[in-house]
């Protein structure tokens, strides 16, 4: 079964319509996720990672809109589903672990109740009746004293524990695809390692496919099978992790790798300059104002994803000449 395509995104465009203009947050993105793999999505903040994910989850809401493209999951185009059909997939077949454990939990409901709501959504049982199942899931995420934690409220837990609660909600229905959007970037370094190890163990034990989003390419290098790098709403490089990391084919990937490495904890902009406006992106290659290897043509012609080797592509004019 491994290796077959689970999810295929084709020419997806997601725009936010703001008074100042149209933010082209995801602008013609195509890729595939294979059953059983861990695919990493990298890119600075603002490159459109979260928007891409919310499109896959069917959670794009105004001012955002899916302008075009297809999201094919197990042969069905999700963009064509009715809200009710999408609802039945969400949280069951495709589930999500969010970034910030503080704001993604409802402060007024107990942790157990919020986990048990997954069973309400997909099996129609009342959350109060499914609390013991929530406790079981908390055990799976190695929560200490799960019974008590199920009955306590989010604010009574530490950040790491809250992240475990969020993960519990993600895996409660044994999803086929688990999407983790920067699940550790709000946590301490030591807890980060624990959470990542937990996620990888769960992936193995439950046989999930994982989409792991992070701005930290070096972290992705350690845990993913393949890596996809996004810049300003587009894919700039995608390929097997080892190859991409050891021999990056796009100057942006290279810069991202350099910018973390040993200096991971420093907070200054990793790459000189800032990501461009997505309302009026730079002409030609969107990276050219910041690219150390830029040449005159870069501001005139837009690069396309060129195959470097089978399964490894990069969008840089250096490969097109």
């Amino acid at each position: 079964m491994d290796g077959e395509t689970l999810l295929s995104v084709r020419d997806l465009r997601v725009y936010y319509h703001l008074p100042q203009g149209v933010v082209k947050a995801v602008d013609g993105v195509s890729f595939e996720v294979r059953r059983g793999e861990v695919l990493g999505i990298a890119g600075e903040s603002g490159s459109g990672k979260s928007t891409l994910i919310s499109a896959i989850m069917g959670l794009v809401s105004p001012p955002g809109r899916i302008e075009g493209g297809q999201i094919i999951f197990e042969g069905r185009d999700l963009t064509k589903l009715s809200p009710e059909e999408y609802r039945r997939i969400r949280g069951k077949d495709i589930a999500m672990v969010f970034q910030d454990p503080v704001t993604y939990l409802d402060p007024l409901f107990t942790n157990g109740f919020q986990i048990a709501e997954v069973y309400e959504a997909h099996e129609g049982v009342k959350p109060k009746k499914a609390l013991d199942r929530a406790v079981q899931v908390l055990k799976m995420v190695r929560m200490a004293d799960p019974e008590r934690r199920a009955h306590s409220y989010p604010h009574q837990l530490s950040g790491g524990m809250r992240q475990r609660v969020l993960i519990s909600m993600g895996i409660a229905a044994r999803p086929k695809l688990l999407i983790a959007d920067e699940p550790t970037s709000a946590l301490d370094v030591t807890i980060q390692a624990e959470i990542i190890e937990l996620l990888m163990d769960l992936k193995r034990d439950l046989g999930m496919t994982v989409l792991f989003v992070s701005h930290d390419l070096n972290l992705l290098a350690e845990i993913t099978d393949r890596i996809m790098v996004m810049y300003a709403g587009k894919i700039v490089e995608i390929g097997p992790t080892r190859e991409v990391v050891n021999n990056p084919q796009h100057p942006y990937t290279e810069a991202l790798l350099g910018s973390f490495g040993f200096e991971r904890k420093k907070k200054y902009p990793a790459i000189k300059g800032y990501p461009p406006s997505l309302i009026t992106p730079p002409p030609g290659c969107r990276f050219h104002p910041r690219c150390p290897k830029a040449f005159p043509e870069c501001s005139k012609r837009e690069p396309h994803l060129i195959e470097i080797k089978p399964g490894w592509r990069a969008a840089c004019l250096l490969h097109e000449s």
């Binding site: 969400r90 969010f98 007024l108």
Partner: protein, 314 residues
């Protein structure tokens, strides 16, 4: 358990405020220019009458003795004797109080069952006509002289259409117009706050989580959003209590509703100071107590508030 302790503590805290209220009214009444006994008795009264009143009110003793006595009396439920009726003030108040409470409750109920759903509707479609409706309604509601609106209602529903009685409390339908008038005063702001807090809550990340779990919009809105938005909604209800009680006085007068408000206005025109004093104290006590109830409701809804309160108690 702890909730009971908290309520008890809040009640204890309210006591100094209530003593302050009584003291304030006590001083205020003594500040009347001239001899209060003469004032109360009226210009035509004989010297004996004035002396008798002085005796009744205990005005010939030192001030602090008068206050301590009055305080004792108030806390045993004795608010003095009405000059106009010659009966205990507390009796007069007890006769009218149920009408005011009834009017206030029915109005608040109407305002909530109309205002909250309309506010939610407006929040779900903020840029539609009904989205603006909440804003416009709130604005007009908080600018409306409600006694005038009451008069207009009387003209429309009683004089022209002859559907409803214009005054008194003789038939069950008598409460409809006053309650409607008073509720419109509250409804606008309730709608506006419901809309605003719903919009804010619907943008929160935890709402995205609920959707991501695959729960229906019905549960997103009526379980998670409503519970979170109810905190500001209850706050505004608490803040509006003063408007509610003050508005009740005006509404009662317009519709000759036999509550505490009309009694107060009568008492003022008869210079029945013990009665005035008693009614104002009762209004303030109600206000303090209902505010206390609002605080307790917070503690019930929000576990974070609850814990803070319990912690502060240690």
């Amino acid at each position: 358990m702890t909730l009971a302790k908290y309520v008890a503590k809040r009640l204890l805290q309210a006591i100094p405020t209530l003593i302050g209220v009584v003291l304030f009214m006590f001083i205020l009444i003594r500040m009347l220019p001239g001899d209060p006994a003469r004032l109360i008795a009226g210009i035509e009264a004989t010297e004996e009458d004035v002396e008798r009143i002085r005796e009744i009110l205990g005005l010939n003793r030192p001030l602090y003795v008068q206050f301590i006595d009055y305080m004792k009396d108030v806390f045993t439920g004795d608010l003095g004797t009405s000059i106009r009726f010659g009966t205990p003030v507390i009796g007069e108040i007890m006769e009218r109080l149920p009408y005011t409470i009834q009017l206030a409750l029915v109005s608040e109920f109407l305002a909530v069952i109309l205002g909250v759903p309309l506010g939610i509707m407006a929040a779900l479609r903020p840029y539609s006509a009904r989205g603006y409706l909440a804003t416009v309604f709130a604005l007009i509601g908080s600018s409306m002289p409600i006694y005038w609106m009451g008069l207009m209602f009387i003209y429309l529903f009683s004089v022209r259409l002859k559907w409803l009685p214009s005054s008194g409390a003789d038939s069950p339908s008598s409460i409809i117009l006053p309650a409607l008038t008073l509720s419109l005063l509250l409804m606008g702001n309730l709608m506006r706050i419901t809309k605003a807090s719903f919009q804010e809550v619907l943008g929160e990340n935890y709402i995205t989580t609920v959707r991501a779990k695959g729960l229906s919009e019905r549960i997103v809105i009526y379980r998670h959003a409503l519970k979170n938005a109810s905190v500001p909604i209850i706050t505004i209800m608490g803040i509006q209590l003063g408007t509610l009680l003050g508005g009740a006085i005006l509404t009662e007068t317009v519709f000759a509703w036999p509550g505490l408000g009309t009694l107060l206005i009568d008492a003022i025109s008869y210079r029945d100071y013990p009665l005035i004093q008693g009614i104002v104290i009762v209004f303030a006590t109600m206000f303090v107590l209902i505010n206390l109830i609002v605080d307790v409701i917070y503690a019930i809804i929000d576990p974070r508030v609850r814990e803070q309160l319990w912690a502060a108690e240690e």
